[in-house]
Subunit: 485 residues, 4 copies
């Protein structure tokens, strides 16, 4: 089955977005708006939990926010001044509704709802130990591990139990937790996944990206700091830092592709960084050509940066269908090979006879680049030069991003010449890792304690990866899981 996403099939995918509102009588409605603005971070499923002072209310649904959470009856069934929501891309495991967040548990201290962006890299090991002690899991989600650690902690207060749980988990997590005593937002000590705080009238808002604050009219206050817990209780905001301080390592791919261009991530405009990467590309690997053409839509800012730096005109040489949000399954075997043009079509009148520079944000498997170069040649392009606004993606991510296994990453298999041949381009280049850091305002990548997590490019993972060395846990898990049809 081909889809209208032939090019987006070859992207890394952020697995989640979170959004929480504390202290607004339109809490659930605001969460719905915020999740809609974060839809690009997870399109498989969404959920919202609210708390009305007495009860927790939850609605979860497969599919997009629009269509599921834009109905008055749904929002009315989520009363209360507190609400937290989550959008989710498919995990490696199961796509059942029971894995859709926020997850909820009834603890001795009361209800506990949690939304999580990231991935816990020792979740399997912890799960095995918890089951051995009598815990019963209701999902296959790594996030549920956190809840059981809280439930079985020996500490007395909920906050102490929560910190106790966090100290046992490793990996990446931006969490928004809702309890009868208030809302807690926190980021892992390295701050791998983003989380920002905003205000709207009296309400405090937490979101994965600033664009979600913009959309609901909130002002951006600051980011939640790596290793910080922000607690909102009866309108008061407290900050706790229970971890030993360490140098942050936010995911650099947020600027490359994940975040929306109109977001501000770590005080930098994502759009401006992307344009700057394009400019770096033009400086590092210039080429004589007639047109700079973006691969829509994610390649556009870098292409503008490339065009402005090089002086070669920016043109729309590939036209995207207006209906890309919808999957189109091509009917009938005979017409399947025609599928590539459903989403994008060459602007033939423009391309014909021209030397073109294609700008895209990244190459994962390379299958899409191959098709798009061919499409340009079919439209009569004289030369096709591909420029990629990130370094070669050579390593898997274990922090909440969906990456193919290493063997499928084009850059893990081939050198630059091999890749150029594979996609049939006249030339191909990637921005250098130092060029990428330059676009972010650094002189270069520091060999020791670089400022970002760039493991997908460098293999330099900033945490231990317990479950990766523990295949027994993974296999046992696969055997036990109930398949709910």
């Amino acid at each position: 089955m081909l889809t209208t996403h032939p090019f987006e099939d070859d992207k890394l995918r952020e697995e989640c977005g979170v959004f929480g509102v504390s202290g607004s009588d339109s809490a659930a409605a605001l969460v719905a708006l915020g999740l809609h603005a974060l839809q690009h971070r997870g399109q498989e499923a969404a959920g919202i939990s609210s708390f009305d002072g007495h009860h927790f209310h939850t609605h979860r649904a497969m599919g997009h926010v629009a269509g599921n959470f834009d109905r008055d009856d749904v929002i009315r069934a989520l009363p209360g001044d507190y609400a937290v929501g989550h959008v989710r891309y498919s995990t490696t495991g199961e796509t059942a509704l029971r894995n859709v967040q926020p997850l909820y548990a009834e603890l001795a201290s009361g209800g506990f709802a949690v939304a999580h962006n990231g991935n816990i890299s020792n979740a399997m090991k912890l799960r095995r130990e918890l089951i051995r002690r009598g815990s019963i899991f209701q999902s296959t989600s790594d996030t549920e591990t956190i809840i059981h650690l809280v439930a079985t902690s020996n500490y007395r207060t909920l906050l102490d139990r929560f910190i106790d749980a966090l100290k046992q988990i490793e990996g990446a997590y931006s969490l928004v937790v809702m309890t009868p005593e208030g809302m807690i937002a926190c980021r892992d000590p390295l701050g791998i996944r983003p989380l920002v705080m905003g205000k709207l009238d009296g309400a405090v808002i937490f979101a994965s990206e600033t664009v979600a604050l913009d959309v609901c009219g909130a002002t951006f206050e600051r980011q939640v700091e790596p290793g910080e817990l922000v607690i909102v209780q009866n309108g008061e905001i407290r900050s706790i830092r229970p971890f030993a301080p360490m140098a942050p390592r936010p995911c650099i791919f947020e600027w490359v592709y994940f975040s929306r261009p109109d977001s501000i991530a770590g005080d930098q405009s994502v759009y401006t960084v992307r344009k700057e990467i394009g400019a770096q590309l033009a400086i590092e690997t210039p080429v004589e050509a007639d047109l700079v053409i973006p691969v829509p839509d994610s390649g556009v800012p870098a292409a503008i940066g490339y065009a402005q730096q090089s002086g070669i005109p920016f043109e729309l040489g590939i036209i995207r269908s207006h209906y890309v949000g919808r999957t189109f399954i091509q009917p009938g075997d005979k017409v399947r090979h025609l599928g590539v043009k459903l989403k994008h079509n060459a602007n033939r009148a423009l391309i014909k006879g021209k030397r073109i520079i294609l700008v895209d944000d990244s190459i994962v498997r390379g299958t899409t680049s191959l098709k798009i170069v061919q499409m340009m040649r079919d439209a009569g392009a004289a030369e096709v030069h591909m420029r990629i606004a990130s370094p070669p993606t050579r390593h898997s991510c274990f922090y909440g991003v969906d990456t193919p296994e290493r063997a499928k990453l084009l850059a893990a298999k081939l050198d630059l010449g091999g890749m150029t041949d594979f996609i049939h381009a006249d030339s191909l280049s990637f921005v250098s890792i130092d060029g990428l850091y330059k676009a972010l305002g650094e002189a270069k990548r520091a060999d020791i304690r670089p400022k970002y997590c760039d493991a997908c490019f460098t293999g330099d993972y900033p945490t231990t990866l317990t479950d990766q060395d523990d295949s027994v846990a993974v296999d046992q898990f696969a055997m036990l899981a109930e398949r709910v049809n």
Copy 2:
């Protein structure tokens, strides 16, 4: 909203039926057939879990078995030689899918699926203690308590842990449990709820009623005895009796209304017992009349018994719609008062000018009897005598039957004269409690250790009722439960 069930609105409702198959390559298909035959025991939801030697597979659905479990794709997604299923009537609490059984848990010993008919009368107390120790509940069902008791037991083998759990619970339970090591069927020490065992080719089958064995072509072997655990492992059947022996107290209402007339319960034909109750009624409270008319369908066998004993002709004076299985919500306020005839209609040509004896199985609130007597009078009946094939229902059931609170039970509020006035009958009588025992082959009800649980008639509850004295647990529970929309 009125429905096409105006008369069935006034029945006690069995809350569950269970069905398990061990050792057939059509296990899930047989369970679907068996559940369809047990549909009268629970119409709100149904579920089937299967085990294929490696994985557990589950499908649960709101609504009837037909329409949900009669599709090839559903059955194909439930592979394996072992399967267990459940039909469910609404519990007092929530009707969400997560409460639909079989419940499943991943224990340290492997998967564990359970289907339960009955009610655990200390479930709230146990739940509170389990949560205090760190257990997280995923449903509001009392059945989940059993699973957590197994998960957290200090014994080593699964069987020991399961018996440990059973010894902590009180109340009524017929359970069918499926584990990777085999299937376990058991009944509580008093055998309050029914459970029978059958065979079909090499497979062992457990079912709430014999009719479910008939429908799938199996032979009836014997009932699972009160307090007995039957374990089926690799085709071998073992029996364990971990409880101190005590005199059984099966629910007498199974013969009065719950079981299908073509079932054999405790070695007695349900149809024959009902006819015998009708005959007892004719002996105890005869009346001069022209016609004996059953309230369809449950009053038919007793009416036949009454007619044969009295010599007064049996006639269909009330015609039931062919479409009673479907709820019809009457549209528009103006026509709501017309609703009563949607399900039943007087056979006016027959009734007019006649003295009639109406026979029904029971009176709960009395609202239906009132309507049906009025319908007979509107059709021109000269006299209407109501005869009820059970004693007055004066007490709530806490063993898995849905009863209204006591204040709504007509017989708890009014004496016979008051009840006769309330339903506007010319006369009304109930079979005596001794007459009921006579129909079951006893001389009379024994004052000490009567042979049946008849608490709904007598208030003589055969177990302690822990949660009933513990309103705190119930309230806290209500507050904590997440409302899933």
Copy 3:
């Protein structure tokens, strides 16, 4: 695919029911109630059209009345004091929504909505001629022919045009027509299909059966006479008889099976007639036996009549599932042979060792009788005697009843001995044609001008059958029809 209707699979099926209300501000809601009461006449689809003085509003749906027409939003979207509705069983042709009635057309005189019970036996011929003159059909329904005849008539007033159309059609029709100028109800000159008139407060109601009047609280006034047009305009009722008078021939099968037992058809109680047929059977073909057992539900009245006449006890030897209204598709090939018991189950404890008389209303293909006799033998019956409350069904119906082709009718293929062997009964008998007329109060069937249409038993069709001699029209029709998916 087997269904829970194994026995009803072998019935003739009425193809339609109609219901009209003129002059009530709850018109559409009343029609919904009325159609629900007529659901047994057509279960495939339903539709209601209303007229609010300015516009016609229509809702049509596949499936039952309950679930489609019992919703406030549906009824609110059908405003006005006039409404007409239709339930439909599948025609031979297509089951698409566009064939669901009421059919509507915008004529020069204004809107025109029609609901039709019956079948026009020269519809193909008329259609071919109309198309040749430029008419465009939107359905494959024979009813649409009437509308085009009205639209293209050379007469001036709507009433004259309608009568002009009726004079060109042959066959069976009970019609309820709604126009801006009032409602018209009419029956074909022979009155083959039924139609009655009732009143509710000021409103005039038309219905296929009296039971639909009962259910909505209306009083039965009289039947619409064969060949009569009843016109309701501004609350006034006029009667027109445009046809030459002829002796009526109402369908005798309405008393045998189609009508509900609580209906009054042609001034006779359907229940009483059926009991009387049973009594005739006991007189004509008595047999020594222990029990009289009805095939539920349609055999019950005749079985009561047989038992009362013969003095042999009436007993429920076959228990019908409470859930027969729902189709259960048996999953998996291996369990298909088990299917027969899904709907009915033998009351084994009662049957065993007994000589039984089974009473059913009719035999069509005989497949069900075969299964049910076998079920009785499997349950241990000593002898099985089958008694049928109608004469052998040997001919197809062309007046709106769904009959199998002749070659599939058991009685058209075999003599009584052959049929007895086929169903493996110890004895088999049908009521005689004269016995059937006796049960209806006649001395016997008159050779000339018998009082009923009994063509399915006798082959004596009361009208010409133009399309049956005109296979070209039928074939061409099949080729032209658009298949709407």
Copy 4:
């Protein structure tokens, strides 16, 4: 209810797209692809009819092509080597399924399926006459008029009858007709709506735009000429010109907004024309500024043209959500005012303190322009200059484009100063009508016989508008139409 289309709410909308395939064994699958590529021309509903040599098969659905026509089961149910399809935007009237094209009729000559882009401006008058003569309409679509004219024509052959029909209709029509004898494509004598012809292997293809040929891999042959009928029969192509020749007047708005930028319309690249209009704007009304910002997505080509002509940098100052294809209904009254940012968000970091030129394709009501200017000011823009790539839209279209009534067109109410004030811009300008013709390669608009239909800008309608002077027909029509719920 606000939607994610706040800006597109203020566009004119093309009402239809058509696509036909003659002579391919994947005909229906190709039509599905083609309609998907034409989705921008009509998003309300879609339909495909196929012909397999014997039968016509049709599937129609509300909603998009994707989701309805990309399923194997749907395509398999549309067999045959001939297929025609249609996408539709809502007409003024009703949106019921029966209005969805292709429309089908069973004529004396056989089946007849038609897909129509355009509007017949004397349809009401013709309908009234046809009904008076006995025709019955099944839809409220103007297209059905054509079919009835064919059905009732006095000519003998289908082709003569079809030409007879065309000669009676006035207005705009690009038609693809499928009959058992072949496919006919035709355009009205002025060629107001587009229609092109392509080839794919042996198959002949007709489409509203060349992009639909591209997407299914077909080659573009030529346009169907104004007033031409192209007949494809058994693989042979014939051309007929039954009308007196006249100077063509294709709709100029196809280049301004309707057609996709990658289409070739009338031998000109739509993308290039739009860039040229942008360049004309920069020449006609230059302004000193820092950034040229397109209103996404339709303003992009003109903005690139403006930027290249002026030398001011092109930047993405407005970020479109990735999920614009989906409607998001904002829940809750309190958050409704926040809605404008759901689809577009200001790229605040870029805009702040800058003088910006906004480029959009057209202004209809002006409501969107008002919001977007305000969004730019809220983001800190120092000056906002709006440039519109079409002349002021002052007149309604009666040729198949959905325009608001004149009183709602901003340019019909206000002069340039008034409009500038209304949208709160620092300056506003529209390209001149001569500038628009220049971008299309003309020296200027010819006063007599201009080369395009530009009635929406000039009020110069190229045909008579019969129904516009005949309000009686329109009113009667509204009264008669059945409302199907």
